[in-house]
Structures are given as C-alpha cells and as structure tokens.
C-alpha cells in the first residue's frame, strides 16, 4: 500500500481459513511509518458501518497514529454470500473467530502496520469470537463493548491475558457480569472498566452518549485514547505474563 492511500478508506477482501470471503475497509494514519493497527468487529445485528456513524472511530484512531481494519462478518452486509448469519447454526456462528483471525493476519502483513502491536474491538454477541482470536500473540490490547461471553471465552482469556478495556451500561446486567467475570478470571495490570447509565448496548452506546449525555466525553474518544496509550508504548504492548 502506498502513501497515496493514506487518510482514506481502502477496500480490502479478507479470506478466512475456511475460505469465507469478507469485505473490509482499511484506514491508515496520515503519518508515514509503521503504525499500530486495530481490528473493529461489529455485533451480529450490525455491520461494519456501526463504527462510523457520527465522528467515526477509524478517523479518531488515524488521528492518533493508528491503522484500522473494519469488515462485515460472515453472513452480514457484503460478506453475506447467500448465507445469513441469523440462520446459521451455533457452531457455524462461532467461526466468526476465523474472520477476526483473517483480519489480524491482514493487518499484520501490511508494510504500513507494526504487526506486533495490534488491538481488537468487539461488541455484544461476537465479542466471544474476538476474545478467541485474542490468543494470537500479535494481539496486544482488547476493547469489549457490552460483551456477552460464554464460559469458553473465559478459558481463552485465562490462556493469554492482555490489556483490556470494558465498556458497559448498567442496565445491561448480563454484559456487566460477563466483563467482571472475565476480569477476575484473567487478571492484568492494564484493566479498565467503565460502567455508564442509560446508554444501552454495544456501538449504539456511542450515539446515545452523544445525544443524551453530550457534555460528557464521547465513547469513541475514550476508546481511541486508551488504545493509543496501550499500543504506542512498545514496553507495554504484548503479553505481560
């Protein structure tokens, strides 16, 4: 990728290990150099544009010197291919972890990205797939928005503990419990949990925050700042265990 593509979205096609083709958009920061990268994974009722309503997380990440890759997960948006995610059986849905792994591979192999300083953002029901993909040694930071995590996800977290930022609204008790359980299961020095009031679930919290709590710091800014801090300090990145 040349410097000419910096500052805008570039369409990329990812191929998961089982052959599923995924439609992605990559954005590089304006400065030349190897930047940390972040994979943005939407929940199953959303598509990749869940991260770009309003200000747009990819833009905020780029402003802070980070590359990002967002894509439609299998069975959603332009990665549908006639197989709807919501008609898939449970074990087929779990293969979203392969989609996330393909996105990590793509970022890591880009000459503009520092392949060992990768972040992951997951929301709601696909957060478990993001957690599963985070056992990859290149993953150095994890953001969980209203995650629903089965106990298998806790095993993944225990096997490799990395800096994690959880964002949950207090009416979403299930996600609050899942995040707290995850933090207890896999302790790490770099842990942050923000519990909001009245914002709902997942990336729709971004909009609710801007609309209903406009005097407060937007969640996108909070996430971008945290990732900048965790991914841009080489001594902090990676597995600390």
């Amino acid at each position: 990728m040349s410097a000419a593509t910096r500052g805008g979205d570039v369409e990329v096609e990812l191929v998961a290990r089982d052959g599923w083709r995924l439609a992605g958009l990559m954005r590089l920061p304006p400065d030349v150099g190897r930047a940390p990268g972040v994979v943005l994974v939407h929940g199953s009722h959303h598509e990749r544009d869940a991260f770009t309503y309003g200000v747009g997380l990819p833009e905020l990440l780029a402003d802070r010197g980070m590359a990002s890759l967002r894509f439609d997960i299998r069975g959603r948006g332009a990665s549908h291919h006639g197989h709807d995610f919501h008609r898939m059986a449970a074990l087929e849905r779990r293969a979203v972890a392969l989609d996330v792994a393909a996105a990590l591979d793509h970022l890591a192999s880009s000459p503009d990205v520092a392949g060992d300083r990768l972040g992951l953002i997951g929301e709601q029901d696909t957060a478990a797939a993001v957690v599963a993909a985070a056992i990859d040694p290149r993953a150095a930071a994890l953001v969980l928005l209203s995650p629903r995590l089965p106990s298998s996800a806790l095993d993944h977290l225990r096997s490799r503990s990395i800096p994690t930022f959880g964002l949950v609204s207090n009416e979403d008790r299930e996600s609050l419990r899942a995040t707290a359980t995850a933090f207890l299961a896999a302790p790490h020095e770099h842990r942050r949990l923000e519990v909001f009031t009245g914002l709902g679930f997942g990336t729709t919290m971004f909009m609710a925050r801007r609309f209903e709590q406009s005097a407060e710091e937007p969640l996108e800014e909070m996430i971008a700042d945290w990732l900048a801090q965790e991914l841009q300090l080489p001594d902090r990145a990676g597995d600390e265990r």
Partner: protein, 367 residues
C-alpha cells in the same frame, strides 16, 4: 446402555408411528453407537439413545442450521458445553421431557432454561406415560410445520431501490390485518425474529423488510453512505411495503399497521401517516415528530399510536409523552421502561414487550 435404552422401547414405537401418521415423511430412529453424525438429507431425525445422548443431539443441532426442533427425553445430562450450545441456538425449539424421579432432573432444567427460543418447553412427568410418545410426536410435527411459513421476497421502492424482506402470510377464511416492520438505522430485519413469529402466530400477515441501504437491500449502496436528502425518502419504503401486503388476497388493505425503531420509527411515521391504509402505528425509542403537520396527525388520534420509550432517553421520552398527553383518549398508549436502551435491545431486557406489542396490534387491528 442396553438397560438404559430398554425402558424407552414403547415410547420409541409410539413416537415414530405417530410422526408418520402426522405426515413427517422421513423418520429415522437412531439407537446405535455414539457419536452421531448429521445426515445429508432433510427430514426429521429422532435420536433416542442412552447416557449423554442429550449432548450429542444438542451438538448435532448446533452444527446443522436445518434443525428447527429438538426433543430431549428423560435424561439429557447436559455438560457445560452442551448448555452453552443450547444458549447459542436461538433458532432451535427444544422440548425437554424430564422424569421427576431421576437425578438428571437438575441438568434437564438447566438445559431448558438455557434455551432462548420462545417455543421451548419442559414437561415433567413419568417416562412410562403411554401417551408421551404421541404428544412428543405432535410437538415435533407442529414445530417442523410452523417453521416453514416465511418466504423471502424482493420488491421495488422509489428511486430504484430493490428491497428484500421476509413475508409471512396468514391463511384464514377472510382477509385479515397485516403489519410492516421497520428496523433501526444500524440494524436490519434480523432484530425482528421473535416479534415476526409472535405476530404470525396471532394471525397477522407480516412483512419484515430490510429498508433501503441496510441488510440485503443495498442495490444502490449503504444507508450510511447516503446524503441526508437521499435518506429522507426512506419513508417511501413503508408505502412500497404496504403496496405488497395490500395486494395479497389474504389481507384487508384497510387494516395495515407499521412498527418502527428509532430512525426507522421516523420513517414509519413519515410513510404511514400520509397513507389512508394505516390503522396502527408503533413507535419504539428515538422518535420525535418531524414537523407540525406530523404532530397534528399524531395527536388527532385518527391513527392509534403505541409509544414505547426508555426514561434515560430524555429527549425522546419527553417528546413522546407530550404527544401522548395531547392525544384524545382512545387506543393510543404510552409505555415507559426504566432502561435507556434502543428499540430491539429492550426486547432483550423485557421478554414481555414483544407480546405486549402483539396484543396492542390485535386490540387495534382485529375487530
């Protein structure tokens, strides 16, 4: 295992006999060795084996999207993994039959409670009950039959948009009411799985569509890439959907309802309030009247409205309450929940909300 399987022999024969009588053409009873593998063809597979069969059947259902119903009889003995898979299988209705005299009752209950399908049931009683086989057969046959009623359709709207949706047609003697569903701007029709099912069960024809630029309806691009001007015409999609259902012989074109969430609620109101076929309007969270004309139409009470909001969404809640209070007493209702979550997310927190909506549509649209 032979000893464990023997008590179920009479159950097995009555179940398969009854299934064949009910028209389930392909019944295969597996009592053989584990592990089981999914078969290549469609049909109904009845699995009845001994210890840990429950987990194997659950795994089978979790690997094959065609499995719409699963009956787990007497000793499901779920592992933690099996229970997790049940929780991740929202499209499979599960019937758990537990015998109160057996220690597996506990695990059977855990498995049942993990299922989020609203047709999942647990029956507790003795396995020797001679009617059990026939009752399980009837339950399975009904689930298989009712799962195939929705068809995917495509229809045109203004500005060259091709819209996709799931249509369920209510088959009844006389033309009946129809409901159109409008999702929010970041989601698509996938948020209305349960509501569509409940409406159809109550006898409504339902068109659950992806409106322009969302889900499968992206022949002219994604909604998020449209200009404000282009977005404003999304309300036309309601009228296009009304045209589709009104043309069905099973539908009374003067009894149409629409439900919208957040931005979708704005488009629902925009399209429906100018359309004389509209008889009911449900607005879920994130809505406020677009202009004075819309406000007047809403408060006129001519079209009954069900307003649903969450208190922390102060702007919306105040707007909805004020509209409700200005409306003449009638069928218009105002429902406020304490949580500030968006539309379909309220369904997650309040399993009684979708039945409440169905009940209101029935009150307004069914004489």
């Amino acid at each position: 295992m032979t000893d464990a399987a023997r008590p179920y022999e009479s159950l097995e024969s009555s179940l398969t006999r009854r299934l064949r009588e009910l028209g389930v053409v392909d019944v295969d009873v597996v009592t053989g060795e584990l592990p089981l593998t999914p078969r290549g063809d469609a049909g109904l597979q009845v699995v009845m084996v001994g210890v840990s069969a429950g987990d194997h059947a659950v795994r089978l259902a979790a690997s094959d999207r065609r499995v719409v119903a699963l009956a787990l009889v007497v000793e499901p003995a779920h592992s933690a993994f099996g229970i997790e898979l049940i929780g991740e299988s929202p499209n499979t209705a599960i019937l758990t039959v537990a015998d109160p005299r057996r220690s597996s009752l506990d695990s059977a209950l855990d498995g049942h409670l993990a299922s989020s399908h609203d047709e999942s049931e647990i029956w507790i009683g003795p396995v020797e009950d001679p009617t059990l086989g026939a009752r399980i057969a009837a339950w399975l046959a009904e689930r298989v039959a009712s799962s195939a009623v929705s068809e995917e359709i495509a229809f045109g709207s203004t500005e060259g948009w091709l819209l996709h949706g799931d249509l369920v047609v209510a088959r009844r003697g006389t033309p009946g009411p129809a409901v159109v569903l409008m999702h929010s701007a970041r989601s698509d029709r996938s948020v209305f799985g349960r509501l569509s099912r409940l409406l159809a069960k109550r006898g409504f024809t339902v068109l659950n569509m992806d409106w322009r630029g969302r889900g499968r309806s992206t022949n002219k691009g994604r909604f998020s890439d449209l200009s404000d001007e282009q977005r404003a015409a999304t309300s036309d999609d309601v009228n296009a959907a009304f045209d589709v259902v009104a043309a069905l012989p099973e539908v009374d074109p003067a009894r149409l309802g629409v439900l919208g969430i957040a931005q979708g609620a704005g488009y629902a109101a925009g399209g429906a309030l100018g359309d004389p076929r509209t008889r009911a309007l449900v607005l879920l969270t994130g809505f406020h009247a677009a202009d004075e004309r819309q406000r007047r139409l809403l408060v006129s009470g001519e079209v009954p409205v069900l307003y649903i909001t969450g208190t922390p969404h102060r702007v919306t809640t105040e707007a909805m309450r004020s509209l409700y209070e200005q409306t003449r007493p009638g069928l218009t209702r105002f429902v406020e929940y304490p949580e500030g979550v968006l539309g379909y997310q309220l369904f997650d927190l309040h399993p009684d909300l979708e039945p409440l909506i169905v009940g209101w549509f029935a009150e307004v649209l069914v004489p």
